[in-house]
């Protein structure tokens, strides 16, 4: 259970702006265990998607680059792989689904063909076999009357159905890791719940691990085993999901939770987080969140804190000058 399937080690990815290269994620380190769902959480512009694209080696070139760091998948570093080696991993061992199901499918090909294509491209099965496999996959993602759907084009399907088709394509290569980049953000809530339940079932059924990118704490509570909260290209806090909701330690995590509407709280208590994530060419020197933080002390604006454990077994880590030291006792008490 605790085997580390993916280790991201001090990963730094930069983007080119008019006047130079600026890091969008910096010294990012985390790991993903087998059969685990890790949620990457944060608001727009904090580096969640860049992380996923860096892992998949799908960064737009030119204009972005991985400066340093390693991405170890089953012990093999993905950063230095040739494009051919990386291609054979993408879509088979590593799969990704995207935010926009409306535009992520090819409008000119039937969905059966699109799924079958992944099968015969990666597994070398015959086209006929691949179509049969596509049908099985459509049934697996619970598309009703799948056999009649094979020849449908994407514009025949609703958003939720299209996202199911995307998931079927991602599953085609029997991935070990599924990266889901806000897969439910564009769907309405009832469909969102169905898709999340489906992803959870499939994960168990196919023994996948998942990196789930979202900005929605409600979704996090539903799917994640562990949560990594990102801010300004850094990890702010990493914790098991129950621990994070019970004991949010970083002021940013706290603020995120307070800005989320909940049934058991009056809506007047919603607290928006003032300000925006600083853009990558204007990152402050110290803690990235300092300027929006209610608890900041002078040191926050000068020095970036380390990611330090706040509970005894070290599963809950926080990058904060104010909270890291304070919380060690309460963290201990939780365990």
């Amino acid at each position: 259970m605790d085997e580390k399937l993916l280790v991201v080690d001090k990963l730094t990815t930069s983007f080119q702006l008019q006047n130079g290269w600026y890091p969008a994620i910096e010294d990012l380190s985390f790991s993903l265990n087998r059969n685990e769902t890790l949620a990457l959480v944060g608001e727009s512009g904090c580096g969640k998607s860049v992380t996923a694209y860096s892992i998949m080696n799908l960064l737009p070139k030119p204009g972005s680059r991985i400066d340093r760091g390693r991405v170890l998948f089953n012990g093999k570093d993905l950063v230095g792989l040739s494009s051919g080696e990386m291609r054979s991993l993408r879509g088979s061992k590593l799969a990704m689904i995207f935010q926009e199901p409306m535009t992520s499918l090819n409008p000119a090909l039937s969905i059966g063909k699109q799924i079958a294509e992944v099968l015969y491209y990666h597994n070398g099965t015959s086209k006929k076999e691949a179509l049969k496999g596509a049908l099985e996959l459509l049934e697996q993602v619970k598309i009703p009357a799948a056999a009649n759907r094979l020849n449908d084009y994407p514009h025949h399907l609703s958003g939720g159905m299209r996202q199911r088709v995307m998931i079927a394509m991602a599953l085609a290569g029997r991935p070990e890791i599924m990266l889901a980049d806000e897969p439910t953000t564009a769907l309405d809530v009832t469909i969102q719940a169905q898709v999340l339940a489906l992803l959870d079932d499939l994960k168990k059924e196919m023994k996948m691990s998942m990196i789930f990118i979202t900005h929605d704490m409600g979704v996090v509570a539903r799917v994640a085993d562990r949560v990594a909260v990102m801010y300004g290209g850094y990890l702010a806090e990493v914790a098991p999901v129950e621990e994070l909701f019970a004991n949010p330690t970083h002021p940013y995590t706290e603020a995120l939770l307070q800005s989320m509407p909940r049934l058991d709280r009056d809506i007047d208590n919603l607290k928006p987080i003032p300000g925006l994530v600083p853009s990558i060419d204007r990152m402050p020197k110290g803690c990235r969140f300092a300027e929006r933080c209610r608890h900041k002390i002078p040191r926050c604006e000068q020095l970036m804190p380390e990611l330090l454990p706040v509970n005894s077994d070290g599963t809950h880590t926080v990058r904060c000058w104010v909270r890291a030291s304070q919380n060690i006792s309460s963290g201990d008490a939780k365990v």
Binding site: L58, G91, T103, N106, A108, A172
Partner: protein, 290 residues
């Protein structure tokens, strides 16, 4: 005629095509005229009343009669027979040269648009040079180098068609390559070649076919022009353009020798243009959903 390949881009629009054709009756007219031409050309060996190169000096320059429906030319050859046989050459040269130019131009255009930068400059630069050469001059050059025959005529026309299709293919490629489904294709591990061939190409196929049908009309005209100035197929093989030229010597006294093949060129070009307009309406998304 592969106007309706079963690939996605068109397959999808086939039902819409029928609907738009129904609304736009002239495109049915184009399609029917074209089919009639093709059937006539295919059946030429059986329905042509005479051998198209058989000379009959006794009956030279005779006007329409029951014996020779469209009359005879200065060698006494039956004009109807020559037109039917000529249709085979005119239609096949027109179609094959456009398909050839379309294939080459599309591959280059998609590649240039997808790769961008250096390849884009290089390929489109060369294409622009080709486009700058007038069609007849291109024909003249190719024929001067390779000699006048059917194959070289086809190549000459293909060379003038290819750069047009490179442009037609390149522009939508540039916009499609940034669409999400191409990104998703990369995330599925597809190679650039596969993305170009299996994902971008079907999306621009519709436009290409529309332009193709319009260009066949032009190619038929170009073939006629090149044959007219003597750069096409060598006599006595009948081609429509060549027949017009041969009739020119007697244009004042026996105009039918030139006029009848001219009418067939007119009908064919018209048919392709009507059909192309219909296809364009069918593929235009704004018209498709209305």
């Amino acid at each position: 005629m592969s106007l309706f390949p079963k690939a996605g881009g068109l397959h999808r629009t086939f039902n819409d095509l029928v609907r738009v054709f129904n609304r736009n009756k002239t495109s049915w007219a184009g399609l029917i005229l074209l089919l009639v031409m093709v059937v006539l050309a295919v059946l030429a060996p059986w329905i042509a009343p005479y051998d198209p190169i058989d000379q009959n000096i006794l009956q030279r320059l005779s006007p329409s009669s029951t014996e020779h429906l469209l009359g005879t030319d200065q060698f006494g050859r039956d004009i109807l027979s020559r037109i039917l046989w000529g249709a085979r050459i005119s239609l096949s040269v027109g179609t094959i040269s456009v398909l050839l130019g379309m294939a080459v131009g599309t591959v280059l255009g998609i590649f240039a648009g997808y790769k961008g930068k250096f390849w884009d400059y290089l390929i489109m630069g060369v294409m622009d040079v080709f486009m700058a050469i007038p069609t007849l001059l291109m024909g003249l050059m190719v024929v001067a180098v390779l000699g006048p025959n059917l194959v070289n005529l086809t190549i000459a026309i293909a060379l003038t068609v290819a750069p047009r299709f490179a442009r037609i293919a390149r522009a939508p490629t540039i916009s499609i390559k940034n669409r999400d489904f191409v990104e998703a294709g990369r995330a599925m591990g597809f190679s650039d070649m596969r993305i170009m061939a299996a994902h971008i190409f079907p999306n621009i196929l519709g436009e290409l076919v529309v332009m193709g049908s319009l260009w066949v009309a032009t190619a038929v005209r170009i073939e006629a022009s090149l044959s007219f100035i003597g750069l096409g197929v060598k006599p006595p093989t009948p081609t429509w353009g060549g027949m017009i030229r041969e009739g020119f010597q007697n244009i004042l006294s026996e105009p039918w020798i030139s006029i009848y093949p001219g009418i067939f060129i007119l009908i064919t070009v018209l048919a392709f243009n009507l059909l192309g307009d219909g296809l364009r309406d069918a593929i235009d998304p704004k018209l498709r959903n209305s």
